[in-house]
């Protein structure tokens, strides 16, 4: 057993990595949702979100 490798230090390191991963996942979902509403080139999606795209100043048309 290495004394410098305390369980506490490794736990906090692990939780920092896990925090980063969870934050990244949440942000990616956000990017996906915004991309769908504001940036989709599918015309049915564009037509459904048309007024919101104009009103929130996403590039439209």
């Amino acid at each position: 057993m290495n004394a410098s490798h305390s369980p506490l230090a490794s736990a906090s390191r692990e939780s920092a990595a896990s925090r980063a991963l969870q934050i990244t996942f949440a942000a990616l979902i956000g990017v996906f949702v915004i991309g769908g509403v504001g940036f989709s080139h599918i015309s049915a999606v564009h037509n459904a979100t048309h007024d919101v795209r104009h009103a929130t100043a996403f590039p439209c048309h």
Binding site: S18, R19, Q22, I23, T24, F25, A26, A27, I29, G30, V31, F32, V33, I34, G36, V37, G38, F39, H41, S43, A44, H46, N47, A48, T49, H50, D51, V52, R53, H54, A55, T56, A57, F58, P59, C60, H61
Partner: protein
Amino acid sequence: MSLFRTILFVAALAGIGTGLVGSAIQIFGTVPLILKAETFENGAPEEAASAAHEHAPGTAAHEHDADEWGPSDGFERNAFTVLAMVLTGFGFALLLVAASELAGGLSSWRQGLLWGLAGFAVFTVAPGLGLPPELPAMPAADLLARQMWWIGTAAATAGGLAFIAFGRTPLLAALGVALILAPHLIGAPQPDSHESPIPESLHHSFIVATVAASFVFWVLLGGLAGWLRPRLAAGTA
């Protein structure tokens, strides 16, 4: 509750609340201006209408009365506006809450409100300087180019603000200022001609209405997220 679930719940609740209020503001404030602009679009002479409809190569032509699906005017159209606003609120709330978690997490509605102001700067003010809110029938540059500039500007502004707020040295703050300026020095894609069938006064009213509506949207989104986060994170060890 895991951090991921906390972010998701805070963003969902803040997004739904803001989306409902935001869509009411849009339906009464900005959508009537869009509908008014569409009368110019449909009434415009053939060549003017086609000139106003520049499209990226490969993009389907955009026509409101074409045979492709679109919600019918009135209730259905507004229902989709409500749905899209709630989704917009949820998506932006996810980005706002996730970013704030990197800085330790929102601790109060007031702190959330400041993050909301940052969101307003990043997603409304900065892209809007180069690409002002547009009405249907207005001339515009290639859609994909504008989307790329919009995303790049928002990302650069967010990064720049982070350098200014969290950078520890004046050099990092200067880098932040440079990042925020860069997209405007590059310049947004512009149409060949700004000639438009839309009266200047209508466009001006639309810009004021959308920017004001976005301001309310972001202040509410940030404030709600900041208020909710300590309450929902209470169970997180």
